[in-house]
Symmetry: C2
Subunit: 135 residues, 2 copies
Amino acid sequence: MNVRPEPNTSSTPPPRAPDEGRAQSQRARNLSHVHPADVTLSDALTALADPVRRTIVKELAGGPDWTRACGTFDLPVTKATRSHHFAVLRQAGVIEQRDVGSRRLNRLRRPEFDAAFPGLLDLVLHERRASPGES
Amino acid sequence: MNVRPEPNTSSTPPPRAPDEGRAQSQRARNLSHVHPADVTLSDALTALADPVRRTIVKELAGGPDWTRACGTFDLPVTKATRSHHFAVLRQAGVIEQRDVGSRRLNRLRRPEFDAAFPGLLDLVLHERRASPGES
DNA sequence: TAAGGTATTCGACGGAGGTCGATCACCATG
DNA sequence: CATGGTGATCGACCTCCGTCGAATACCTTA
């Protein structure tokens, strides 16, 4: 699980917290990212094999970058599980996160992830419905 | 886990057991296949998330169809586990199997699986090495 | 400072799945 | 028929991981 300097790969200029120029907060310091290029195929497939995580990815692709906080997703799990899934997606290079105020905004790493695993995200985004299986 | 009539989708004419025209043996009757079109994305991703199964897929792609029996693969697991993995790949629509004599020959369902999950097999076949991580 | 909202962390639980040895079924030879 | 080879099945074990409640940390607003 490598961690990169993480240059600004965003397609849209990300919003900033009010206290812009100050030192990183402890919360932001704990936010470690992994670049898709450093992710194994095992980790990528495992991350996207979970239906809850695929729901997150699909909802995230439905809107602009940096507009969805973790709590705004419609998921059939509690806060703790939700937080776990976001961490897995982040460590698998699928999403990028940034703290703004008390919320944590998300972005789907479309171009970088596509470069590392061509077609994989498309497969997820073209999926009819999640797995649980009712119409 | 649907089971289809399974028409002959092979690219190469598959070999036949010596007793060609006879009734299906019990062994062949237990061999149930699932067409990739009937496989969920969850099952496809889960099947290919395992390093042992990806090794099978890659070895299978390295030679012609219907030339590799289950026992001819170089896998770090016992017979029982090996048999389990082949069953998972079969139920996920990744491979097709056919009994010839006392052996069970395999075929990678390249065109059908590609049609159902474009790019997914390519991702696996282009993977540098399996996950365990030593060169 | 207090209160409320957002999100992570911790510890525990339970189920799913990868693994194995042993056994069994089937096929092909002597 | 007996033997050996191939592969599936069974039962058990164990680890991983998805899940949760509770506690904690951080931010914002009053």
